[in-house]
Amino acid sequence: MNDIDAAGVLLREELEDAIGNFSDADWMRLRRTAQLYAVYPAEPDELVQEALCRAIAGSRKCPRRISVVRFVAEAIRSIAHDELQKVEYQRDEVSVHDETVENPDAITPIELRLNPEERMVSNEQTRETENQLLELFDGDDQAQLIILGMLSGTEGAELREITGLDQTSFNSKRRFVRRKINNAIENGLTL
């Protein structure tokens, strides 16, 4: 990404226009992405807004070769990963905004960091969530195997091998798992 020259990225106005022209399906895709990444204490809507704020603030540049929806989804992913890294390395938060600007709240990044006590509670909640996810697929051993593999960080080909499924069947099962999780979140499950 670093070697992209200025001509290879969208101008801010182009990016704003592209987001302004998102279809319902584009918004639903982003909503479903945020639902998967909005682990406590973040809310999906907050995460989408945060990603959009960063995009239009210009702190992330959108290469012309990728779709703007994918770009915003990657921003959501990046925010979730950054938060976990901050916990591991306890980095200090540095504002990217001009301190002289009045009312910077409108574009101030959301605070997702947990203190140690909150993290203990969060870890407990997360373990409960993992159990709830497995219960969603009660009686479906392959789906549970996929969930357990994904939770342990097992990736693509390796995960498929563990399930013993061919690529097409694996993709189909993975979609079933993803849809069911998204729908459960839509109906009140929180990660």
Partner: protein
């Protein structure tokens, strides 16, 4: 000993990473169907998300305008030669200025100690522009 920094949420983020590609391999039509299946209305939800984005965009534009205005004012201040102002001196000058006749009731009712440094500097500059504070006399303080 338990690592207090251990974050169980990492596992959920790994799960999301593995499912993200599927979201982009799913057709628009199927994504919309999923939301309907879950009891949502894509048109309504989409309109809400679009509206929130429009508000965010408007706020972002206002912030950029304010930043540009602050930048212009800083340049103008430099041109006028007001480079560095000692804040304690500015407070003292402002305190004396508030005691002068001819200021509005609102201005006279203010106490410089209630003001932040930023407010002090803003009022200090305003009163210079209005001629209430004479920067040459102020140097004698």
């Amino acid at each position: 000993m338990t690592d207090r920094r251990h974050d169980e949420r990492k596992k959920l983020v790994s799960l999301a990473d593995e499912l993200l590609d599927d979201l982009f391999a799913t057709s628009d039509e199927d994504i919309l169907k999923e939301v309907v299946e879950a009891g949502g209305d894509p048109a309504v939800i989409g309109a809400q998300m679009r509206e929130r984005f429009e508000k965010t965009l408007m706020l972002s534009r206002k912030e950029r305008m304010k930043a540009a205005r602050a930048g212009r004012m800083a340049v103008e201040d430099n041109v006028e030669g007001t480079n560095v102002v000692d804040i304690s001196k500015a407070r003292e000058v402002l305190r004396l200025a508030f005691q002068k006749d001819g200021l509005s009731m609102a201005a006279r009712n203010e106490t410089e100690s209630d003001l932040t440094d930023e407010e002090v500097l803003r009022k200090y500059n305003d009163l210079i522009h209005l001629g209430v504070i004479d920067t040459e006399k102020e140097d004698e303080l």
